[in-house]
Symmetry: C2
Subunit: 194 residues, 2 copies
């Protein structure tokens, strides 16, 4: 029987990662997010920061940038290699155990491979801006600018590798506004559904 996997896609600053962790804790299963980055970094010899950046974001907010990136003899960019490693790890995880996977196009990668509960967590710009300042602190750029940039690059990454639209409600079984409903309510709904 296929393992039951919860995939959580999320807007930057919506608290989707926190939701994922708390759902996993409540259900007594593992939550993969940072762990995937660490594993890829270990396997590839690349730094964790580099992998984090390359494993969910396009470099300049659109896939055209990819056309100008360095390629190896097979025509693959470093980002393509990270995608391949990431995809393989996610498939292995799904084979091994029931778990929560945050981001990384896991919903797409596992669409035919696991018994999925696909979730999208979002919140208004204002509530996300407050959250990222609280969690990550002030930066030179305004929180709104940081959010727009992150969303744009994450959407472009998703679209490039999956050819599907990120954040299109039709791709998710459940989509929740964490800003209005609150993190705890989101956790409860997802854990109950599982």
């Amino acid at each position: 029987m296929k393992n039951r996997i919860i995939t959580i896609s999320r807007e930057f600053g919506s608290g989707g990662r926190t939701v994922g962790k708390q759902v996993a804790k409540k259900l007594g299963i593992a939550c993969y997010d940072q762990e995937l980055i660490e594993k890829i970094a270990e396997k590839s010899g690349l730094s964790e920061d580099f992998v984090r950046e390359k494993s969910e974001y396009t470099p300049y907010g659109n896939w055209f940038a990819n056309a100008f990136a360095d390629r190896d003899v097979r025509g693959m960019t470093i980002q393509d290699h990270i995608w391949t490693m990431q995809r393989q790890m996610i498939l292995e995880l799904a084979e091994k155990e029931s778990c929560v996977i945050v981001g990384r196009c896991a919903d797409y990668i596992l669409r035919d491979e696991a018994d999925l509960l696909t979730v999208f967590i979002h919140a208004s710009m204002q509530q996300r801006a407050q959250r990222i300042v609280r969690v990550y602190g002030e930066r030179e750029d305004s929180p709104e600018k940081r959010l727009k940039d992150k969303d744009k690059r994450r959407r472009a990454y998703y679209q490039f590798y999956t050819d599907m639209e990120w954040g299109d409600v039709r791709n998710y079984q459940v989509a929740l506004d964490s800003g209005i409903l609150g993190i705890d309510t989101c956790v409860k709904i997802i854990a109950d559904l599982y």
Copy 2:
């Protein structure tokens, strides 16, 4: 204090209306859908079928059609008049009582007027096709064609009167796939949130 209103937007054939009715029954509040059509028909002297069609769908699938429609001395089409009546009725309902309102851009109309729980119900094309044949029977056109046509005209109507995108996950607090989760689960989640 503002009344608590559940607005349910839905793809045609997703069972969103059934979800709305069952949520209302469970919570012991009213559900408005057919009732709104009846009231507008009564007030305007137009037939219910005509109102049903004109109160959620653009005539030819895009708002350009509106440019060529018959207009009165104030430049309003019959559809504009129905929109105005519908809007007024929805505002009056929200003033009067807590309730469920299905479709009719109620989420947009009440965005600053009530304590809202905004819901979007959707399902895959395949599951909706099965449902409309079961509920409404076979027609000359294929169920897929009927669904695409309805979705397209409903989206165009919503966009024309609200200037927002119908089915964009960011506009709803909760979006659920009724095809995978099932009607009963959708009802439970929404009633619990209320």
